[in-house]
């Protein structure tokens, strides 16, 4: 196995679910300060990749490495990966009835520094209120139960709020743009851009160009049948919007189809 560097890097990653291979050798490197977009047809394995990065117990890693901050993170528990600075904005955030947003986020913020000094509740709430204002969220959300009865768009905004509060060094956003209205998309993008900077790496999973207008990717990758079949610059997205995935399949999918 090769050495791990400081930046986020996936090497030859293979993973299966219930014995069925989904990821079949994914290679991807996201350096600090870079934003990468990941696109691909439904069922190609994008969410699987996101889950495997975060260590979902339902997926079995059958080969490869995921490197971050100089180590292979595959042997770390999910919460340890989070504490290392990895964040996943879920495509389908789950509800936790009875647990308020404030309680949840305070628990998470404290958990991020095990053994460290706890954040004072007052200071934390103040910060949270500022982020909520920034994301144009009703302050009442702070006392609502996490994602319980939230609309699709509200859940997505909640993911961004969490990301702002937890300040990760690397984030995977799984279709955060899906289901957002035009105004919400702008606000959510503004939230993400607040973190984008020289020390932050971002992997943006999306189906549409529209979000990439607000968050400019440095690179774009196309995942197909569990492999990144083509990578390029941000201009690629135009071609995809116009022509769909057929040409990709024809040009780059041959080796996949040949197997």
């Amino acid at each position: 196995m090769s050495e791990c560097g400081a930046d986020f890097e996936i090497k030859d990653l293979c993973a299966s679910v219930e014995g069925k291979p989904i990821l079949k050798g994914v290679n991807l490197r996201v350096n600090r300060g870079e934003t990468h977009a990941l696109m691909g047809p439904n069922g190609s394995g994008k969410s699987t990749l996101a889950s495997v990065i975060m260590g979902h117990p339902g997926y079995e890693v059958t080969g490869g490495q995921i490197c971050f901050k100089g180590r292979n993170i595959l042997d770390l528990e999910t919460e340890e990966r989070a504490r290392l600075g990895i964040f996943l904005a879920f495509q389908y955030p789950v509800a936790i009835p009875g647990v308020t947003v404030a309680k949840f986020l305070k628990t998470a913020a404290d958990a991020m520094r095990p053994g460290g000094a706890k954040v004072s509740s007052a200071a934390f709430l103040k910060e949270l209120r500022e982020y909520m204002a920034f994301l144009e969220m009703d302050p009442a959300f702070i006392n609502r139960f996490l994602n319980d009865g939230f609309s699709g768009g509200e859940k997505k905004r909640m993911e961004i709020l969490q990301m702002l509060a937890l300040k990760p060094a690397f984030a995977v956003m799984d279709e955060t743009d899906s289901g957002l209205d035009i105004d919400a998309l702008k606000i959510v993008s503004k939230g993400i851009n607040r973190l984008v900077g020289p020390d932050f790496g971002l992997l943006l999973i999306t189906h549409y160009e529209r979000m990439l207008r607000y968050i400019k990717p440095d690179h774009l990758h196309i995942l197909m049948d569990g492999r990144i079949v083509h990578s390029g610059g941000p201009e690629l997205v135009k071609r995809l919007e116009e022509k769909g995935y057929d040409w990709v399949r024809q040009e780059f999918g041959k080796e996949v189809l040949a197997e």
Binding site: A82, F87, V94, I96, G98, V99, F104, T107, A111
Partner: protein, 475 residues
């Protein structure tokens, strides 16, 4: 969706499992009329009380132990139990040093100088009450709060009027047994129009080996009065099972309100199901007066066997009964618990919120009865019974029974069963939260509606207790 294995977070350690080495004055094992006479004499009781006990005992002899609950336990040998054990204490009015230390370890200071802010405590150790705090504040308002044995001697008229008026000795097997042999417990009377300014609390501790605990609590709220009452219980860790059969009677007259909360943490036995308390309890409130109100809140996290159905007899028109329950079972614990709401008066209302959490190989059953009598017009009930399963070796059952004999009744019942899902835990863990904290967040969230019924400081205690029961780090 797949389910997680029972997480090791469910390994708990019972921190109240210590034993106090203290000299005790005990009755020989076994039950007969002489033992009852012995108890009555020890308590310095009047004749009428002894007669009441003997009658209950004779009734008990003709009764059969109920076995209809969803519980599995070996036969209980009632002759192998000691029915009276009293710690030998110093001069009258002083709490023995060892006893004082025991209660301090339990977080219950008996010292008047250190007493809990805003809570008057009656501490019961095995068969006797050892101390009652805050007597001054209560006396000022005319509130009676004392050991029931003292009340029998000092306030016989009140006791005779109300004792057994809600749970008669013949009510059931365990109530009959309790009536025959009850040793201590608390008595509380709130006079007309008085709002009790502090929480009243009784703390029960079983200490001696082979001793049963049979406490009796009687609370009477006179017209327009209010009282909030909390009961806590613990016992040492022992290999053998110990019997606890309590009776609690609440009486609310016109416009009176009683809130009764229990945090039951008797020793539950070890992981393999060895030892633990058998908890057979009859608790009933009687909303005797119009617009009276009784609410039961219970947090049941202990005992090997729990058989308990705190209910309300809603006789006064427009009276209200409430039942809020969290029952957590783990390892081999078995709980069969729920409530009975009997609507006798017109326009009576009841609310039931039951949250059962089963983990390990435990069995947790909700059993409820909502009954509306033919003459009761315009009654309402709302029941919400939720079960949560942790792991796949545990069981949850719900047995709700509705008998509405008046057509105007509006009865709503909702029930859900859920598992802590792998996706919920993954979501929380992805935010840096450990598995055990994630489980406890989800569980606490699930119980929220019940916890908010508890006085704040006890809600905090209940949450802490639940976390302890679900915490690996203490294993």
């Amino acid at each position: 969706m797949s389910t997680p294995e029972t997480p090791d977070v469910l390994k708990d350690e019972y921190k109240y499992g210590f034993y106090t080495d203290i000299e005790a004055d005990s009755a020989p094992k076994g039950l007969n009329e002489d033992i009852i006479r012995f108890i009555s004499r020890k308590k310095g009781e009047p004749d009428w009380m002894l007669e009441w006990r003997l009658k209950a005992y004779r009734g008990w002899l003709k009764k059969k132990e109920p076995r209809w609950a969803y519980l599995d336990y070996p036969p209980i040998d009632y002759q192998d139990i000691c029915y009276y054990s009293a710690p030998k204490t110093g001069p009258a009015g002083e709490v023995d040093e060892e006893l004082r230390k025991t209660f301090e370890r339990l977080g219950i200071p008996l010292d008047e100088r250190k007493r809990l802010e805003g809570v008057a405590v009656d501490a019961v150790f095995d068969s006797v009450s050892v101390a009652t705090t805050h007597k001054d504040i209560l006396a000022e308002k005319g509130i009676l709060f004392c050991p029931i044995s003292e009340a029998i001697r000092e306030h016989p008229d009140l006791v005779r009027k109300y004792l057994g008026s809600v749970v008669p000795p013949a009510d059931n097997f365990f109530a009959a047994l309790n009536s025959a042999v009850f040793t201590d417990g608390s008595f509380c009377y709130i006079p007309k129009g008085v709002r009790c300014p502090i929480e009243l609390s009784t703390y029960f501790r079983i200490n001696a080996r082979n001793t049963g605990q049979f406490e009796r609590t009687l609370i009477v709220a006179d017209e327009g009065s209010y009282v909030s009452y909390l009961e806590g219980c613990t016992a040492p860790l022992r290999d053998e099972n110990q019997l606890h059969a309590a009776v609690v009677e609440l009486i609310a007259l016109d416009d009176a309100q009683i809130k009764y909360a229990t945090v039951q943490n008797w020793y539950a036995g070890d992981k393999e199901g060895r030892g633990g308390i058998y908890n057979f309890v009859t608790k009933r409130g009687h909303c005797r007066g119009q617009r009276s109100r009784i609410s039961w809140t219970q947090v049941e996290v202990g005992s090997a066997i729990t058989w308990k159905y705190p209910g309300c007899v809603l006789e006064g028109e427009h009276s209200v009964g409430e039942f809020y329950s969290v029952a957590l079972t783990n390892h081999r614990m078995q709980a069969d618990t729920g409530t009975k709401m009997i609507h006798i008066g017109s326009h009576t209302r009841s609310t039931i919120v039951s949250k059962g959490i089963s983990a390990g190989e435990s069995v947790n059953s909700y059993r409820g009865l909502v009954q509306v009598l033919p003459d009761a017009v315009g009654c309402r009930n709302h029941s919400q019974c939720d079960s949560m399963l942790i792991g796949d070796k545990c069981k949850a059952n719900t047995f709700p029974v509705v008998e509405a004999e008046n057509g105007s009744a509006v009865i709503e019942h909702e029930a859900t069963t859920s598992r802590i899902s792998e996706d919920q835990l993954f979501y929380l863990k992805s935010r840096g939260i450990t598995e055990e904290d994630a489980v406890s967040l989800v569980v606490n969230g699930f119980c929220k509606e019940v916890f908010k019924q508890l006085p704040l400081e006890f809600a905090v205690e209940a949450i802490r207790l639940l976390e302890l029961k679900l915490d690996k780090s203490i294993g």
